[in-house]
């Protein structure tokens, strides 16, 4: 039986014979701090973290370099706007990983990728089998704006699309500066209490301090009553605790397929909450990826939330921003119906102030 060392040597020779020599090697540092060297721009990429597939699609302006991905990445893409933009994605294999992010090494090898992205926070068991098979692996971690910027930088470098990556970073910078100029010096009293529900149907789980949701609630001029110093990042709470917090705005996650604001309005236990009485329950939009976690379209999320929390300040033309951003991100123009779908106009119809996102609204 060949040892892993022999196997990896064989794969290495294979890689050498198929690649045009080490002309312009690319060196990146992954988010575990390891140096990863590529022979040249990665053209065959396998992504195992679920949000990585849409990030690569954005960096590259299309799915051409995507050789394989997580089955849930694929279902999210195919159900979303990117599946409509790039219907050929349907043929990209997604059998490379099982649940728990354990890679199917042979299936990955069969795709002959020159770079595999894998989670870095789940321990060595999900990484080492790939490296032992001679594959080039870069690990990523998740959850903060800095880490998301790290993704963009690293993926831009690995694909040679550094200019595109820089533009994505600049866009984040300018949007952050723009929103901070408007919301930055809001006093506590002018900030509505906002709760983000990471889960609502199975249990009521809200995001606490240090989460990405907490970051953008603060950025967009709100405050998160669950973000008490020392509290856990994710908190399963009961209806009474919600009443004690009395949120003025409720944000619903885009992960639970059957969830909509109607579930909150229809729950008799929550009927007394300010957010319910004033109809300020909103489901977070779903663009090239769900807007709740860090993603390539986060600046649009920040703008959307600023408009939701502070309609009196909301002078941003979000629909126009989406069209402009999609033009250079994906090279595509969404239809008016598609923009309605991204902003979840149907689910959020009737919510206070949501008319501002309708296609007839004046920016």
């Amino acid at each position: 039986m060949p040892s892993p060392r022999h196997l990896s040597a064989a794969v290495f020779c294979l890689a050498l014979s198929s690649a045009p020599a080490l002309a312009n090697p690319i060196s990146i540092t992954d988010q575990a701090g390891l140096d990863v060297t590529l022979d040249g721009p990665a053209n065959r990429i396998v992504t195992i973290p679920i949000p990585a597939a849409s990030m690569i699609t954005a960096i590259d302006g299309g799915p051409d370099r995507l050789s394989g991905m997580h089955p849930l990445s694929k279902s999210a893409l195919m159900d979303g706007i990117l599946g409509a933009f790039f219907p050929d994605m349907a043929s990209i294999p997604s059998d490379v990983v099982g649940n728990g992010f354990m890679p199917n090494v042979e299936a990955v090898l069969a795709l002959n990728p020159d770079l595999v992205f894998q989670w870095g926070h789940l321990g060595g068991d999900v990484i080492n089998p790939l490296r032992n098979a001679g594959l080039t692996v870069a690990t990523v971690t998740y959850g903060t704006e800095d880490l998301a910027r790290g993704w963009i930088e690293m993926m831009g470098k690995a694909t040679g699309e550094t200019q595109k990556a820089q533009r994505m970073l600049d866009w984040r910078d300018s949007t952050l500066a723009d929103i901070r100029a408007t919301m930055g010096d809001l006093p506590q009293g002018a900030r509505p209490r906002v709760l983000y529900f990471n889960r609502f149907l199975s249990e009521m789980k809200v995001s606490g301090p240090g989460t990405y949701n907490d970051f953008y609630i603060g950025l967009a001029g709100g405050r998160n009553p669950a973000a008490v110093e020392g509290a856990p990042a994710w908190q399963v709470v009961n209806a009474e605790q919600l009443m004690a917090w009395d949120p003025e705005v409720i944000l619903l996650n885009g992960f639970e397929p059957d969830l909509s604001p109607a579930d909150v309005y229809g729950n008799p236990l929550l009927a007394g909450l300010s957010a319910v009485k004033s109809k300020r329950v909103y489901q977070i939009p779903l663009g090239g990826y769900r807007w709740d976690p860090p993603n390539q379209e986060s600046p649009l999320m920040w703008t959307w939330l600023s408009m939701v929390l502070h309609p009196e300040k909301g002078a941003w033309p979000l629909r126009k921003n989406i069209v402009e951003a999609y033009a250079w991100l994906y090279g595509q123009t969404p239809t008016e119906d598609q923009i309605d779908g991204i902003l979840r106009l149907a689910a959020n119809s009737g919510a206070s102030g949501y008319d501002t996102f309708a296609r007839t609204a004046k920016p």
Partner: protein, 350 residues
């Protein structure tokens, strides 16, 4: 042997002590239930709690809207669910321990809990509603029981050792199926629902759930109480029971059916809450002795009180809900270990 005069305990005659114990047992569930209505994460003055309760019963003018919502829609169904489920799980445990003549027996040990857990996980996996959830927990609990029944029969009888060992085998099998379902579940959708349900919680308490729980638990408990004399005889051992004219097998399976129904309804509304059926009957046995005529009602009363207390802790200790199954195990396991050591020399150790 009978003493001519009852012995003195702490200066009181035994019958007096006994009536005190019973008075405490009967008073504990309603008193704790009422007190529990007064505690929660939302600060409410006691007066408003009482007004809201009075409004719910139609005997007082209407309370502030918020107070009545907290008390009548959130706390009351939850406290009642905890009382009923606690009583059911405890009496089911006491009956099981009697028919198996083994203090270590609980619904877990004969595989019923694992079967019910699989049924529930499967129902959640398929995004089914509450009645399907109950149906599936009951069906698979029963299926586990039937498999145990078939496995454990030797020469037309089911020796206790074979029953318990078959229970372990069947339990392991269904636990593996639960793992399989959680492995296959969608991490965005059904997986969190299954994981949360498996840890146990009354956080989703509602009146429809309470009605469903009552509809199954009350007849189940009534059946067990009606069978209390036979359970007494069964607990003497099969030979003695037969000698006394009891049909051992049918009676045993009737008890097991009631236990399965009670366990399944508890599991359907609150998820997997372990250790109640194991620990509470022990405490009850220390209070009223091993006679099932007294032990079964005492277990039900103590179980109701115990469950409502643990649930109070789960919903008020921190801003977060604490998982009930974890709390009952953290409280139950050490307590049970202690009881085992203390009781080693007497009664049940044969």
């Amino acid at each position: 042997m009978r003493a001519s005069a009852p012995p003195l305990i702490g200066g009181l005659r035994l019958p007096a002590v006994r009536s005190l114990v019973w008075a405490a047992l009967f008073l504990a569930p309603p008193v704790l239930g009422l007190l529990s209505l007064g505690v929660g994460r939302y600060p409410l003055p006691l007066a408003e709690v009482l007004t809201a309760l009075g409004q719910g019963l139609g005997i007082s003018e209407s309370a502030p809207e918020l107070a009545s919502r907290v008390v009548l829609l959130i706390r009351l169904p939850r406290v009642l669910e905890a009382l009923v489920a606690g009583a059911g799980l405890a009496i089911a445990g006491a009956a099981l321990q009697g028919v198996f003549r083994n203090p270590l027996v609980g619904p877990q040990l004969i595989g019923v809990s694992s079967g019910a857990a699989f049924g529930g996980a499967l129902a959640l996996f398929l995004s089914a509603g509450l009645s399907t959830l109950l149906g599936a927990t009951f069906l698979f609990g029963l299926l586990a029981l039937v498999i145990v029944f078939l496995f454990s029969r030797v020469d037309g009888r089911a020796p206790v050792l074979m029953l318990v060992l078959s229970g372990v085998v069947v339990g392991a099998f269904f636990s593996a199926l639960v793992s399989l379902v959680t492995y296959l579940a969608d991490p965005n959708d059904t997986l969190p629902a299954i994981v949360y349900w498996l840890m146990g919680s009354f956080a989703t308490a509602s009146y429809p759930k309470l009605a469903l729980l009552l509809a199954v638990t009350v007849p189940g408990v009534a059946l067990l109480v009606a069978l209390r004399f036979r359970i007494n005889v069964l607990s003497l051992g099969d030979e003695e029971a037969r000698a006394l004219g009891i049909q051992v097998e049918p009676t045993r399976w009737l008890v097991l059916l009631a236990v399965t129904a009670i366990t399944a309804s508890g599991v359907a509304v609150a998820g997997i809450v372990g250790w109640v059926g194991l620990v509470v009957p022990h405490i009850a046995r220390m209070l009223v002795g091993p006679d099932h005529k007294a032990l079964l009602p005492a277990s039900a009363l103590a179980g109701a009180a115990y469950m409502v207390l643990v649930d109070d802790l789960a919903r008020t200790a921190t801003t977060q809900e604490l998982p009930l199954g974890v709390l009952t195990a953290l409280v139950g396991a050490p307590l049970f270990g202690l009881l085992l050591r203390r009781a080693q020399a007497k009664g049940w150790s044969t």
